[in-house]
Subunit: 208 residues, 2 copies
């Protein structure tokens, strides 16, 4: 059985729908169950916070993980990523109040994604101070904590409602599969068969 | 007007109920509003993630903050804490699978509260490896990520449902008021009057 850490929330429903397309079958899910097995006992799924997926995979508690590009970047773990999945599309962006003009000196940036933000601004040669937040990042420019934020955007609705505009794209996001490299050696046949099933699911979705 | 950062979630409703007891009046709250003013325009409340309250206060964007002891500890900011509030009681605890016995060597501990966990185990002379998680920490002992967790407990129901027992108390938690020290000097009269109102609210609640 392949143990899969799956990102709770945004990707959870899409992944279960995709798993069904790949031929996995599930019983009705109880609301609070964090561990789910398919009926054929091919996979055991741990439902965890997105940023925790790389932790479960890196520590070998899960053989594979499914999460967004952003969670991999933030974890700073070097993980094998054999496959992009055809859902969970979003963008990591820099946003600010409409009409924002940067001044000289240190730029203050509020974000839940400090690694992504720091790497981006430093690569552009800026002197940046990252203010790490845990949520409601769109509040930061409004109340004056930082003029800029780095955050994930799907529709852009939350930004717009708060008078914020997208200024730059940091990187595109999609759901990805990651693997624990020790598990990949020890459970190679099982993991290859899991990946093969996912590949067939992706091919079924592609336009012909 | 005193700007107050308030911890979203567990403390939010209790704090608004307490504010009403202290004589503050509010309009009906829209579901998604993160900024709320009282009708008398004495306070402006920013509703933010618990762990972000100290960040808003430390950076001077909020004059005062209301959050749990745990958020102050984790922030590692030195903040003035003039007052404990009579709600938000909980405990930071060590928990593990029933019958867990520590072996020699490094203890692995999964937690959302790495500062609290590290400080506690090191103070007891243990060699500890902290595995930082962002949620669903009760899963960690079950799937073998770490035999122990450090987490906040109110009723103990989640622990029990997952076959976990409380092994030690790390510290007791309650809601506290914190202040930005620059704001306290500049807006002294306003902040003192705010604290005075809260004090009256606490006295009203005390058994006579």
């Amino acid at each position: 059985m392949v143990k899969v850490a799956l990102a709770k929330g945004r990707l959870e429903d899409e992944t279960f729908a995709f798993f069904k397309k790949c031929g996995f079958r599930f019983k009705e899910r109880g609301d609070r169950s964090l561990i789910v097995e398919d009926i054929g006992q091919r996979i055991q799924i741990f439902i965890v916070k997105p940023l925790d997926v790389p932790t479960y995979v890196f520590n070998g508690v899960a053989d594979a993980g499914i999460c967004g590009t952003d969670s991999i970047v933030e974890s700073q773990f070097k993980l094998v990523q054999p496959m992009k999945l055809p859902f969970g599309k979003a963008r990591m962006v820099v946003a600010g109040l409409e009409g924002f003009k940067p001044k000289n000196g240190t730029i203050h940036v509020a974000t839940k994604f400090p690694v992504s933000a720091k790497t981006y601004f430093e690569s552009k040669g800026f002197d940046v101070k990252i203010i790490k937040l845990h949520g409601s990042v769109e509040l930061a420019p409004i109340v004056g904590l930082a003029p800029l934020i780095v955050d994930i955007v799907q529709t852009g609705r939350t930004l717009k409602e708060n008078g914020l505009s997208i200024l730059e794209e940091v990187y595109p996001i999609s759901a990805v599969v990651t693997l624990n490299d020790v598990a990949y050696r020890i459970k190679r046949t099982e993991i290859l068969s899991f990946l093969e099933r996912l590949k067939r699911g992706i091919e079924d979705e592609s336009p012909r």
